[in-house]
Amino acid sequence: MRSISNKQHENERIQVMGLRKSKKTGFKKYSILPGFGLTMGYTMLYLSILVLLPLSMIIFYSSQMSWPEFWDTVLDPRVVASYKLSFGASLAAGVINMVFGVLLAWVLVRYSFPGKKIIDGLVDLPFALPTAVAGIALTTVYAPNGWVGSLLGFKVVFTPIGVVIALTFIGLPFVVRMVQPVLQSLEKEVEEASASLGASRFQTFRRIIFPEVLPAALAGFTLAFARSLGEYGSVVFISGNMPLKTEITPLLIMTKLEQYDYAGATAIAAVMLVTSFMLLFIINFIQWWTNRKFISH
């Protein structure tokens, strides 16, 4: 009996505290739908178990190393070369996807043509395909004796270009799927207004459509970029994994793991984590900055 009543007391106390706290901090606004506490609590738990806890393990493991050891591992020329390739190729692939993703979305939204639904479905394929399959397929096609590779005057497979191609492939759906709904929601009247005010088609695109699409394109770029950084399966086949030349960082982490060098692997992972976080933070800031105008205050 005592324990039950105690529990009840505690519950009441928590409720009262929660109320007071929310009033003070202003987190909770009045809403028709109840359940802020429940959903928020679940969100925190979910994120902690799935994201924060595993990530903290990286820091935990790498902290087993001494500082000199850590710097040695992290600044090893082979590892540094892999950072350059991973971040460089991901950025390049992200930019390519941003440009062509917008173009693809434009075609899919603005025009109707036979087979449009099929093409629309094809866009999602890189999501569904196992990355290793994609890697093998791309390598076959772009190899010097492959269908496309034999037509090109330069080497693609086993060079950084190959890495960029693989990353572009897997990042394609992000920009298209982010930009599509924005283009769909663009009113035709706005373009007509621009034309009737004397703007040329290019001016209408640059001044009216582009600013509307940019935040979505940037969001798509962020997702594609983040996905590319972590990509492993499709890249390892096409890159050839030559030390100092075509090794990506995730591959180095894998290699270290296979050698039971857990601390070394997590050290590199920690560097990637921090760098990615900073980059995403910057991109999100740019995104917020371009998007702020649409939000009414």
């Binding site: 007509e192 034309a195 009414s296």
Partner: protein
Amino acid sequence: MSIVINSVSKAFGTFQALEDINLEINTGELVALLGPSGSGKTSLLRIIAGLESADQGSIFFDSENITGITAKERKVGFVFQHYALFRHMTVFDNIAYGLKVRPRKVRPGKKDIQNKVHELLELVKLKDLSNRYPAQLSGGQRQRVALARALAVEPKVLLLDEPFGALDAKVRKELRRWLRRLHDEFQISSIFVTHDQEEALDVADKIVVMNQGKIEQIGTPEEVYENPQTPFVYDFLGSVNLFKGRLNNGKLTQGNVNLEIPDWAGSDNMEAVGYARPHDISICRESAGEGTVPAIISHIHLVGPIVQIELVRKGTNEYLEAEIPKEKYRKLGLNVGEEVFIKPKQLKIFTPEDFII
């Protein structure tokens, strides 16, 4: 600038939106295109603006044929029904847009653009809101920004598509007065589309009544209201009471009611419908023989100086509407459910030929 529309037709697939439209608009006129939805009024406006192309016919601004010229080159100001403001631009930038996109040679300097925009902001009374974004404005304010934006390029023709359609009644009345003043001040030709007859009668110099892709009547508000040429115009421009019957020697007969129609003295047993506005109906307590129609009062609206009375015609159960001054209403001492006798003071007769369009 005067506008001449010469036998313009337009079809969307199998739907004939406009059929052989001929219309002339003089410089400085404020014209209303009035009609129900689907009557083709917006299509006509968009064709004039160059946002849509006509299948047939031609359009002249002054004496220049502009049929093949794009919207960009036509230099008309167009105000959209849903404003179509650029939501990522401030009010200032929205209004300045038309000036900023001009080719470098004819583009005004930064200072000039600023002055012009401020002048317009003052005109539309939005001076303090120049840094706001469209999302932060009310409907009426947005509409005024849209107007200022269209006026910034100094158009010779101003086209407005249901400009006040999405606003509440009070703002609407205010804005249309204001539009009238603006129009007079700027000396431009304006055309606006509306389905609200009161709005058209209130502001326009000339009303073009449209129905099913054709023009039913063109005239001043007085002309179209007082002297409608087709049953559609009569019906569309206000409430109406119908008296069906057969015309014989200047009398419209239905059952034991005979209404005198002196204008049709020579008529001989033809089907006809008499149209009368509610204010042209008089009510009396006593029957005056065959010239009056017996009816039962079903409802009385008492608000304002005019009393609206709804009646049900005896025998046919047709619905009738009468408007009488309050004094007269008091004198008669009418009550719901009472039987009275009504008499149309004025009947406009349409014969079946008028209905075949």
